[in-house]
């Protein structure tokens, strides 16, 4: 179950607070997955008590966009901590879908990759199994089929340290790179933080989703949770 709350001493009108929270959560807590299961209790609350002496912020206030952006970034930090603590997780994975036709489909694709047990076990085993990533993209339940053009898609692993080359291309314009540098792939996949970059090439929207690998420990923890 995901629970969380954010409190602030700013004065924010409740309607503005609700829209701010909803937008922030859509780009943070609603973009994480550990195991693909949705709880009956997931809740994120926010309270603004107005202890700071400044004008009340509503949706028409000049500060609204700034505060919303700061709350979003803040919520992303919290959401990422949840993924880092995923049961049995040894790796933190950012799935970055770029140049999508629309945000919704970018998110659907990012979520499909993030929830694929076969992708997650491959990442745990440090196996550069790009076929599983492409497979997950292929079955994603897109709202608009034009979001995915098999001849335009690019998929890469991106190194999260300072090592070069930073990007290891796995699929270029729909063509699998069959001579992938396996040694470099192993180096990248041995890092505790990973990034999977998917460039759809069908638009300008993007979505980041955060997930983790799936290990034996997950089964150990959940095999007898209730008893």
């Amino acid at each position: 179950t995901l629970l969380g709350f954010i409190v602030t001493d700013l004065p924010i009108k409740s309607t503005a607070l609700q829209s701010m929270l909803r937008s922030s959560v859509d780009r943070s807590f609603n973009c994480i997955s550990v195991d693909g299961d949705m709880s009956t209790n997931d809740t994120i609350c926010m309270i603004a008590n107005g202890a700071v002496n400044t004008s009340v912020i509503d949706e028409s206030s000049p500060e609204y966009a700034q505060v919303k952006s700061q709350v979003t970034e803040f919520a992303q930090q919290l959401a990422q901590l949840v993924v880092r603590d995923g049961e049995g997780a040894t790796k933190f994975v950012t799935v970055n879908v770029k140049n999508a036709l629309n945000f919704k489909d970018a998110k659907v694709i990012a979520e499909a990759i993030s929830n694929s047990m076969l992708v997650k076990t491959a990442l745990y085993g440090q196996d550069a199994n790009w076929g599983r990533i492409l497979c997950a993209i292929g079955y994603a339940k897109l709202g608009d089929l034009a979001s995915l053009d098999p001849t335009k898609i690019n998929v890469s692993f991106v190194a999260t340290d300072d090592s070069e080359p930073r990007e290891l291309k796995l699929i270029v314009n729909g063509t699998p790179q069959l001579d992938v540098d396996e040694a470099r792939a192993s180096e990248i996949l041995s890092l505790p933080d990973l990034e999977v970059l998917v460039n759809l090439g069908t638009g300008k929207e993007e979505c980041q989703f955060w997930t983790c690998d799936l290990s034996h420990e997950y089964v150990t923890i959940n095999g007898d949770y209730r008893s």
Binding site: T8, F29, C45, Q66, H216
Partner: protein
């Protein structure tokens, strides 16, 4: 396994100090609901009286919503998010798929906090833990009473960290983030956030 790296996540991700927003106090306690005796009940209170508070929330879209979700949503609907001054969270038992009795239990908890605050519809509630079991109300009610009567509330770092720990279940570290920001007019404000979660995580809240 090659991938199994030993990382001290607590040392990496738990802060050792923090700045906290004005006008909030928090408390936590171990009621005994958690079998290991760890902290399992926390309350956050708004103590600022200069103007009414605003509250907002997003909830699971799972069709089987737990009692605290149903109740908290009804409080926000009733108040339009105005004047909510407390959140009470328990861990160890999710009070989920517990039917009418679960809802009554959640109402009792919220009512007890409201009584201490001296006003109605001022408290939201959350629960996490095992699904399909009733809350141990005797332990939780006793914990609420003790926290208020002994005035266990504080605004220092340890109090906030205790609150973060009290909502954990299978988490290996408490999740506490706090930051100070400035508005264009120079006014400084603070955001503090606490979250929990390690499994059953793929939320889609609305």
């Amino acid at each position: 396994q090659r991938a199994a790296a030993t990382v001290d996540k607590y040392a990496l991700y738990v802060p050792k100090s923090g700045v906290f927003p004005k006008g909030f106090k928090v408390a936590s306690t171990a009621t005994g609901v958690k079998k290991n005796g760890n902290l399992d009940l926390g309350i956050i209170l708004n103590t600022n009286k200069s103007r009414p508070s605003s509250a907002a929330a997003v909830f699971t879209t799972n069709k089987f919503k737990a009692a605290p979700v149903v109740l908290s949503k009804s409080v926000l609907d009733k108040t339009d998010g105005e004047g909510v001054d407390a959140i009470i969270v328990n861990s160890g038992c999710a009070n989920s798929v517990t039917g009418e009795v679960g809802l009554k239990d959640a109402q009792t908890i919220v009512g007890e906090v409201n009584d201490f605050l001296g006003k109605g519809d001022a408290t939201l509630t959350m629960s996490t833990g095992v699904i399909g079991q009733r809350l141990q109300m005797d332990k939780i009610s006793k914990g609420i009473k003790q926290m208020f009567q002994k005035d266990s509330f504080g605004s220092d770092f340890d109090s906030w960290l205790g609150l973060a720990k009290s909502i954990n279940t299978t988490d290996t570290f408490p999740k506490l983030v706090t930051s100070k920001f400035s508005l264009p007019n120079g006014t400084e404000y603070t955001l503090t956030g606490i979250a929990k979660g390690a499994g059953m995580i793929c939320p889609n809240m609305a």
